[in-house]
């Protein structure tokens, strides 16, 4: 591979980092940023006593856009955080076999986190009083 000198400040995938994963990590960041600002504002400003109570959570989730938005937030933030953690690990130059094991742990762990989160969203939506 030819050595390319990038302009200072321009990031690029590092050795061991797939270009598509790097691109997803970069692209998911701004989306997460918007969603996390909404998440922070809702959780710290809409609650009558600081954080939202159980009833206030159900009231918030009764808007059908909210579970969809939180579901998207969950998928994007879990993938972004694990890809970021993987980037940090890559800087320690792990062996190929160790990196493969870490990749499987992250894939399974991330999938489990998303499945659990979506289950929890369904439980919350199902708990919303009808009418």
């Amino acid at each position: 591979m030819a050595n390319v000198t990038l302009p200072k400040g321009v990031s690029a995938p590092k050795s061991g980092e797939n270009t598509w994963l790097w691109l997803w990590k970069l692209a998911s960041g701004p989306l997460i940023f918007i969603l996390i600002l909404i998440h922070f504002a809702v959780n710290h400003y809409l609650g009558s006593n600081g954080l939202l109570s159980y009833r206030e959570v159900l009231s918030y989730y009764s808007n059908s856009i909210v579970p969809v938005m939180e579901g998207i937030f969950l998928v994007v933030v879990v993938s972004h955080s694990l890809l970021g953690l993987r980037s940090v690990i890559l800087d320690l130059h792990p062996s190929r076999s160790l990196l493969r094991a870490i990749d499987w742990i992250f894939l399974l762990g991330g999938t489990a986190a998303v499945v659990y989160g979506i289950w929890l969203l369904n439980v919350i939506v199902a708990s919303i009083p009808k009418g």
Binding site: V10, S15, L26, L51
Partner: protein
């Protein structure tokens, strides 16, 4: 592979936290890493404790009462601060990765970190007075 003097390795990982000889970009790189790791840890803890929502109103409201104390509020403040710092720094990385604003990167960094600080203070006022 070319290795620079302060590139971390398995035996020198502690060098990540040594600020000596680092420039502003190096410090914000480390800050992005530290906030990212903190947020990742918080994310998985957050998902676990949100399981109290599935146990009904009493369980969840009792948990909210439990965390309504200065220790936990300070922890949440750190999460908000980390989120804003990591987010705004990430915006800078995305912008410069597209080749935009690279010559004025330092100024962009200072402006974005100032906005992050202001945002953190706004949330801090709400969190510590609610």
């Amino acid at each position: 592979m070319n290795k620079v003097d302060n590139e971390p390795s398995r035996s020198k990982w502690i060098e990540w936290f040594n600020p000596q000889g680092r420039n502003l970009e190096g410090i914000t790189f480390s800050l992005n890493r530290i906030t990212g790791l903190g947020l990742t840890l918080y994310l998985f803890l957050h998902l676990i404790v949100l399981g109290t929502l599935a146990r009904g109103a009493n369980a969840y409201d009792n948990f909210i009462k439990l965390v309504h104390n200065p220790f936990f509020i300070f922890g949440e403040f750190l999460v908000v601060a980390a989120g804003l710092i990591h987010g705004f720094n990430g915006i800078r990385i995305v912008i410069t990765s597209l080749g935009i604003g690279v010559p004025t990167e330092k100024r962009l960094l200072v402006v974005l970190m100032a906005i992050a600080l202001i945002g953190t203070l706004i949330f801090a006022v709400r969190m510590f007075t609610a």
